[in-house]
């Protein structure tokens, strides 16, 4: 599996992401600078977290128009696999590779803490490392993670099994209006979604930061083992 991690000015989670892939595959992903316009030969492109372009205008808005995103869009059209975490998720919605948008957290505060996620996505390499309904812990660190989309879009995402992850309690209870559970106020507690062909996935929390015991746990590892098993 050949993985490329896109680096924009202001990206700061690319090394964490690379380390997570190194742990499961033994291979070091390639870093892709945002000004390059070629992503040939890759199996998976990752848009990591950070504050691309200082979050100017809207989080992810400027990065969505970087030269590399043209190539990433073509890669997606050809059925390529793309993972976006945190700012990467914001870039994917701004690029319209995923539906919806990420608004300011409902409580107005930047949230840097652990959350729990329920695995709900179906038929995707990004959720195949877990069983449907599994609950896992993941760190989150974002100011704009409040997922929103038109009600018909949300219905469709749910109906097609394209809600990849939902915020929940440690016991797996989803509570949309409880700010201790759905901390950023996301519509229907949505933390991550899948594209129509299920090959593009975006989520706000950071599974890559819980992939080794030295980091405090391996709760996030199934994301990477699932991808690894599918793409080799």
């Amino acid at each position: 599996m050949k993985t490329g991690i896109v680096v924009f000015p202001g990206t700061n989670r690319e090394r964490d992401m690379a380390q997570a892939f190194r742990v499961v595959s033994g291979k070091t992903p390639q870093m892709l600078w945002h000004q390059q316009d070629n992503v040939d030969g890759l199996d998976l492109i990752v848009l990591p977290g950070g504050f691309s372009f200082g979050d100017y205008l809207r989080s992810g808005a400027m990065a969505a128009h970087s030269p590399i995103m043209k190539a990433v869009r073509q890669f997606a059209e050809k059925g390529g696999y793309i993972l976006g975490v945190c700012n990467g998720f914001q870039i994917l919605t701004e690029s319209q590779l995923l539906p919806g948008a990420l608004l300011r957290n409902a409580g107005q505060r930047f949230l840097s803490q652990d959350c729990h996620l329920k695995v709900e996505g179906r038929d995707s390499i990004f959720t195949s490392g877990w069983k449907h309904g599994d609950v896992f812990r993941a760190p989150m660190a974002h100011g704009d993670g409040n997922y929103t989309a038109a009600p018909d879009v949300l219905d469709r995402l749910e109906g097609e099994g394209r809600v990849a992850f939902r915020y929940c309690t440690a016991e797996g209870h989803v509570k949309d209006s409880d700010e201790h559970v759905n901390m950023n106020g996301s519509a229907r507690s949505i933390a991550g979604v899948l594209s129509e062909n299920r090959r593009v996935c975006g989520l706000m929390p950071h599974p890559e930061n819980l992939t080794e015991e030295i980091l405090g746990g391996t709760d996030g590892l199934p994301l990477f083992t699932g991808i690894m098993e599918a793409l080799g």
Binding site: R58, A61, H65, E94, L103, G107
Partner: protein, 80 residues
């Protein structure tokens, strides 16, 4: 020509910042303040032959970058 692009959240999209400002206004004694929404104004200059063309350019820029039409609406004004 000077173009001013107003970008604001669509009706029905939650505006936490507006809510916080509304609370602050209430605590300052402005109890009648309601429906507070925070918007963005982008001022720029464009080269265009007439106001209509300038407005059109502003709208193109809003659609391409300045507004995210999933959550935001916009309108464009031209001032000479």
């Amino acid at each position: 020509m000077k173009v001013r692009v107003f970008v604001y959240l669509k009706d029905g999209v939650l505006d936490p910042q507006g809510k916080a400002v509304e609370h602050a206004l209430h605590s300052l004694g402005f109890e009648g303040a309601s429906h507070v929404r925070i918007s963005r104004v982008v001022d720029l200059h464009v080269k265009a032959d007439n106001a209509e063309a300038a407005k059109k350019k502003g709208e193109e820029m809003a659609r391409a970058l300045l507004a995210n039409e999933v959550i935001e609406d916009f309108h464009v004004e031209v001032t000479v």
